[in-house]
């Protein structure tokens, strides 16, 4: 039964191959998993029920509206109750609901069953991008909106054409193998986000302090697109989710390549850095993590305060480090950055924006974490 369903899904998917997932306009994105297919079927079934009821109810009502009107000389029949019909139109809808509830319950149970996954990936929501960690393979990265700002601000630079994947493109997509059960753990670094991939029938909130899970098994290769689906602040509309489904072999290559570069990138927390190196490294960390709120100028935005000449960036370095590690008010804690990254970004903030301040070594961060 399941096997035949898979074939059916694949046939259906190939029929829709010309249309990419992002092209969906009036209905669900073409389902790429059995669950998404189940949901789509469920929706079709319920729409049929609804349309039948709609036609029945509305034709009775409009018959009355057109025929039983005063202007046609129709006289009112002042009946006002009828136990038989009242019982009938309570019981029949209840039975219809039961017929709808049964298949729906089966899908709920299937959707919740995340056992037996071959790969586990942790998706962390940040303001405003996603972080992915391949927990079985020991590497991870951030996945950010790749649409250039000038396309978004079309008001300022009129005429800049938008590419077809406008707002649905990221610098580094999530890569998963085809036909394998992938378990997604969601959590968040700051506020609630939601990891949504319509083509897979998946939407799971990413909640700070909690780990939630969901799963999918993509039935064919391709690139699929979703967006963060829980209001998470000003750039809520700008954190897309892109999943690239590849063959098992390609996935192995991808993993080894990522593991190698992760090794190369790893920093020794005991290394002593020069100021210039720290500032240069810190600039990258700042742009990757801090810029969205504090701006390139360091002037801040909304609830996020300015860093320029603030008592945090010019006061005692331990207090500055404390805020980065523990967060304060709108500022989330950033324990997920490495010791070197934290040291670099703090040094950058204290030696940029016209500041000339002290520098912080990774080993001090390591010490402060304890």
């Amino acid at each position: 039964m399941r096997a035949s369903r898979t074939t059916a899904v694949l046939a259906c998917a190939s029929a829709l191959r010309s249309a990419t997932a992002a092209d969906s306009r009036i209905s669900f994105q073409p389902p790429q998993t059995l669950i998404a297919q189940d949901i789509s079927d469920l929706h079709t079934w319920i729409m049929i029920v609804i349309v039948v009821i709609f036609v029945a109810v509305f034709s009775v009502m409009f018959y009355a509206i057109f025929r039983h009107r005063k202007s046609l000389g129709h006289k009112a029949l002042p009946f006002h109750e009828n136990t038989t019909v009242e019982v009938l139109w309570t019981v029949i809808p209840a039975l219809i609901l039961a017929v709808m509830a049964w298949p729906a319950a089966k899908v709920v149970l299937a959707q919740k069953d995340s056992r037996g996954a071959t790969i586990t990936i942790k998706a962390t929501g940040y303001q405003w991008f996603w972080g992915y960690d391949y927990v079985d393979y020991g590497f991870g990265y951030k996945s950010k909106l790749a649409t250039p700002r000038k396309e978004i601000d079309n008001y300022q630079t009129a005429g800049s054409a938008k590419n077809p994947n406008y707002l649905l493109e990221v610098d580094e997509p999530l890569v998963v193998p085809v036909g394998q059960k992938v378990r997604i753990l969601t959590t968040s670094n700051d506020v609630i986000h939601s990891w949504a991939m319509p083509a897979f029938g998946v939407k799971q909130d990413a909640i700070p302090g909690f780990i939630r899970d969901t799963w999918f098994k993509a039935e064919r290769e391709g690139t699929f697109r979703g967006q963060c689906s829980e209001l998470c602040g000003q750039d809520h509309g700008f954190m897309p989710i892109v999943v690239k489904v590849v063959s098992a072999a390609k996935f192995q290559d991808y993993v080894s390549q990522k593991q190698a570069s992760a090794k190369a990138m790893a920093d020794d927390p005991n290394k002593i850095w020069t100021r210039d190196d720290l500032v240069a490294r810190g600039k990258k960390v700042y742009e990757a993590n801090c810029l969205a709120c504090h701006q390139a100028t360091g002037m801040g935005t909304g609830p996020f305060p300015s860093l320029v000449n603030s008592k945090i960036t010019t006061g005692p370095v331990q207090a500055h480090l404390g805020i980065v590690l523990q967060g304060k008010n709108a500022m989330p804690a950033w324990p997920g950055l490495s010791d070197t990254e934290i040291a670099a970004v703090i040094t950058y903030e204290r030696n940029h924006f016209n500041h000339v301040g002290d520098l912080l070594q990774p080993k001090d961060v390591k010490l402060a974490r304890k």
């Binding site: 992002a22 669950i35 009355a64 079309n154 938008k162 939601s194 949504a196 939407k203 209001l231």
Partner: protein
Amino acid sequence: MTASTETLHLQHADHQAHAGAEGWRRWLCATNHKDIGTLYLWFSFTMFVLGGVMALGIRAELFKPGLQFWQPELFNQLTTLHGIIMVFGAIMPAFTGLANWMLPLMLGAPDMAFARMNNWSFWLLPPAAALLVISLFVPGGAPAGGWTLYPPLSIQAGMGMDLAIFAIHLLGLSSIMGSINIVTTVLNMRAPGMTLLKMPMFAWTSLVTAYLLIAVAPVLAGAVTMLLTDRHFGTNFFKAAGGGDPVLFQHIFWFFGHPEVYIMALPAFGIVSQILPTFSRKPLFGYVSMVYAVCSIAILSFMVWAHHMFAVGLPATAQLFFMFMTMLIAVPTGVKVFNWIATMWEGEMSFETPMLFAIGFVCLFTVGGFSGLVLSIAPIDIQMTDTYYVVAHFHYVLVAGALFSLFGATYYWLPKWSGYMYNERLGKLHFWWSMIWFNVTFFPMHFLGLAGMPRRIPDYPLQFTDFNSVASIGAFCFGLGQLLFLYNVISTIRGGVGKAPAKPWEGAHTLEWEVASPAPHHTWESPPDEALVKKGLRAQSLEHDHE
């Protein structure tokens, strides 16, 4: 009837002598249920316009992809304030205002039970509205976390959130006092002979709504107070960093928020149940089952809150429980729709503006009910939640539901309030205009949601462009059309198309039509004659000749 009207005229004249304060003092110190009802209605219309202008700001931004007018932060502030203002400032006070104006008249009571508290419950509203508006201009701006105020986002926000929390406290206080007044009035001040199961449906729905509010307004107050202490006093109810639970807020909020949906829908059911029989010239079909349906909807509304949270990761059992409970609400709601249609069936219908709005309500509310049924199925909800499908669904319920019923109610009772008839052609134009542009605005949102467009985003991927442009055009036309309504109401108050008789509608039989139009400042100072009450009840088939 003539005799009683004359008596009332005499009473009215009698009271001119000591009619109380005039000018601004009449309104500031108002204790008369009609004055307070008028205040409520004007306040809510003002808020409706304010919230509507914000909605147009949102739709202008969404007319095409890219950022046109607002930066994303301001866009979020607009969506948040639009939601809070429409729910707490426009719809809820409008129903309280209607209850104030009409309940004493319909029940044969001289006034609301607690006239001074009535004044206080109204005058809490303007300061609350002012706080919401002021929040736009404080550092950090207005709350931008959506009307649901989910933490930790709302903990992160600037001081605008504190103003909003205080505003919600005031609005909640006002609602509770208004509700206590309604409950006491309905339970204690009915005319002799009018038992609970013989009072008009509008009184029933107001009563049940008031109970719902008394039950849930404190829950919301608790939730936002915890939010406030999390923000400023070092507590960690909802802050994960301190061991709090961000999902707990959602549970508390929706334990308030789901009944709140029915707080905005039940009075609409009551209004439609007054209007349809009047213009069908038939008694309401299935009065008793209507009452039971209202009560069971109210009770069920407390058991379905987590259907707003199917994406937070509830256990499978909870997912199933809340799904089944939610589906179950379709049964009493269906009963109501069937009863309304049976009321029209074999009637002698005429289609004055109130009737058009009532039928429009039944049609569109049914569509909203259907999309609600689709959303009740948990796996489908996971595809739809936080998308435009939900936005479409609740606007079908709240605009075509609550708002259309309020328009209907205004046209229905305006002759009683003002003493003049409104312009029927203009009223019909207002209806058809609203009906068409409402659908142009909100129907495409179903497609946007199905295709996966998240809600509350200031900019969107290109494939959503067409439907968004259509919706924006619809919204601007819909908004413009409401000026027709304002014009019609004002010109009616100034004389309209002529004086209104005491009973302008042939099929109306409830007690409010037994007093003169305009309703004198004081009515039913002595309870209506029992024979008069019985006559009205018989006409509504709530009592039979042989009884």
